[in-house]
Symmetry: C2
């Protein structure tokens, strides 16, 4: 198998943080094989994963291309190969990458995000192809100046409904901006609605954002987000498991979701209707043992029903409620990142213990009273009252005159 | 110990579902003792509970009144007794009840709610008097036509902030009305805000509501809820552990909260700031092993911060998110009361499996294609395509003409 001169590809890349492959043809051949496999077969396939695990990518491709393998996987690959040699397809893919100014990486690449390997060990429901075919990608196509592994190392996924509300947009913007501002990468799916708001908020904070697409990075979907995609390609990363030119089929969004969940340290469902596909991304995060979070909203909003359903899961399927950036970082951050507990304003009477509080309340609102009277009203012993009343007066909670206690100012009732 | 003729008391009550005490003086003496104890000492006291458990209410009162007991409990009781014989106080309490048209019950009464006994076994923090003095009441004063035990048997507590928002009021009204409409009693604390909305909503539904007060039932607090209290006294129940004339001290609200939590099968925190006292009622529900629930709200609302903090508790302190009456009833109801899971509208393509869905998407938007072409685009084997395409056409998801498949109508992208 041959490959184009790396320089030809590199020429099309504005910046290439990926180091040259270790010398020798093997690594390049392996990479070529993975890139072709990623083109011949839909990503995530359990059958392909088994084949590659058993034989390595090069032999796996050979077996599929030569007809040594039979069954649906081989047949599907053959339909796309159309009898051409695999090497020819590899060349075409490299050429296309160079022409489009995109790059492609595989697990052999220095910038490959190691955390994608967790998809091998995801807890899998094998009764549905969608839940069985959740294995790691063979290759990822990218547009943008940053090394993916580095960018995705400290990342949080913000996902949600396309048909968001103003409230959802506000929440996505707050979290996206705040996370980016604290140096975290915001991952999302590039869709309308919550996804787009999250990307934009991260960019507005001058931070990094990655759009994980379900179609070719050369034709990001939806079209109306084109200006956003161009900005992401310049300042962040557009990535996809599918080669350039691939159309966004419905099922591909669901297949793609596992990559969002696996790349990020945690996934936040910002706003979602009961049937939102974004709930599946949260499910993948749970299946991967990653932090799964959801933002609550008004119970009157259809677009928070999905979030609330997620938050109603039991302890076996934990989904944490998050309302602030601090709370998100508590879930994904290291030790010492505990979110401050909201406390509200301190009140002057907070420092009193319950008996002191009861004594202060037992002092008449007008006039003054002596300790026995106050103790009787409060329901405490005279001893307890005598031990506390002078201190309460000293601290200004009561006034004392000749052993009689009164209130320091016009009393306000609780 | 003597007591006034029951008839004198009964005359003041519009309806008295409480049966006469079993004949013999003992029960009446016991009840008188408890009523006096409930007047001499603040409710919930651990020391009083120990004394009554060891000696019974009559002897416990005798020991306190005669000076046989020493310590803070005896001293506090002595201050209120002011050297009068306990029997005189009992007579005065009965007379006052008759005059005010209220009644008083004790654990000996038929309408006493048995579930209050659970307060004996509450998991207790003994480091603070507020969390130590959480024992059952000795007596309860009531205004209203219904037997408390019956009314509270199927009850849910709705509690929350006094400074509610419009959103919180909406949520409280929805839940209060819905629960009452389904035959559940709505318990609350009679306060401004969420409490008042919950009571009003239950009354609007023609249902039962109980206000558990932290002051005498003859002077319900706050004054501005007076019209509401009058309606509750006519159609529901006003109840209190404190005898008529007692003022609402701050600490009494916190002591009272345990009774709300213990009477109800579950407690819902509807809206609460970070420091809301209503959070303590939810805590009591958890400590009692009762259903503890909270309503989510916008993360932008200060008045939902307390709810969200409760919902962020771990599985050891479970608080369930509830958004509908059904979900509340799932927590407190019997078997078979599972809330329906929100599903959203069904879509025509829902019936398709993932491979069918991928095939439908792979059919070109314009023109027609044959099975091998569609299979290649979809990334499935020809066998799988041939097995499914005719059925998809039969079901109307595709059109078939001479073995070529097209879309049935102008395609819409996902």
């Amino acid at each position: 198998m041959t490959h184009p001169e790396p320089a030809a590809v590199h020429a099309a890349r504005p910046a290439d943080p990926e180091p040259a492959a270790p010398d020798g043809v093997d690594t390049r051949t392996v990479r070529d094989a993975r890139i072709v496999l990623g083109c011949l077969l839909e990503p995530g396939s359990a059958a392909l994963h088994r084949l590659v695990t058993a034989h390595g990518p090069v032999e796996a491709l050979d077996r599929l291309a030569s007809g040594l393998e039979s069954g649906p996987l081989a047949e599907a690959a053959a339909l796309r190969l159309q009898g051409r040699p695999a090497v020819e397809l590899a060349e075409r893919l490299w050429e296309r990458a160079a022409r489009l100014g995109v790059r492609v990486i595989t697990p052999e690449s220095a910038e490959w995000p190691a955390q994608l390997a967790d998809l091998r060990h995801i807890s899998r429901d094998t009764s549905s192809t969608i839940d069985r075919d959740t294995f790691p990608p063979q290759s990822i196509w990218l547009r943008g100046p940053h090394p993916l592994g580095e960018v995705a190392g400290r990342s949080v996924a913000l996902v949600g409904a396309r048909a968001n509300t103003v409230y959802g947009a506000h929440a996505a913007a707050e979290l996206g901006y705040g996370l980016a501002d604290r140096g975290w990468t915001v991952l999302s799916g590039g869709a309308y609605g919550i996804d787009a708001v999250a990307h934009r908020a991260a960019l507005a904070a001058g931070g990094l954002t990655v759009a994980v697409l379900a179609c070719g990075v050369d034709r990001p979907y939806p079209l109306s987000n084109s200006a956003l995609f161009e900005q992401i390609a310049e300042e962040g990363l557009l990535i996809s498991e599918w080669p350039p030119g691939t159309a966004p089929f419905k099922m591909r969004f669901l297949v793609r979701n596992r990559v969002i969940a696996a790349l990020a340290r945690g996934t936040v469902l910002v706003e979602a209707g009961a049937r939102s596909g974004a709930r599946q991304t949260l499910r993948r995060a749970r299946e991967l043992g990653r932090a799964a979070m959801a933002v609550p909203g008004p119970i009157t909003s259809e677009m928070s029903v999905g979030c609330h359903e997620e938050l109603r899961r039991g302890p076996d399927e934990p989904v944490r409620l998050v309302a602030t950036v601090d709370q998100v970082l508590e879930e994904v951050g290291g030790i010492g990142d505990l979110a401050p507990v909201p406390r509200g304003a301190q009140q002057p009477l907070d420092a009193l213990d319950p008996v002191e509080r009861q004594l202060v309340d037992a002092v008449p609102r007008r006039g003054a009273a002596h300790a026995p009277e106050i103790a009787a009203e409060a329901g405490v012993s005279l001893r307890d009252a005598l031990a506390r009343l002078p201190s309460l007066a000293l601290r200004g909670h009561l006034r004392e005159h000749s052993g009689a206690y009164s209130r320091p100012r016009p009393a306000r009732r609780p």
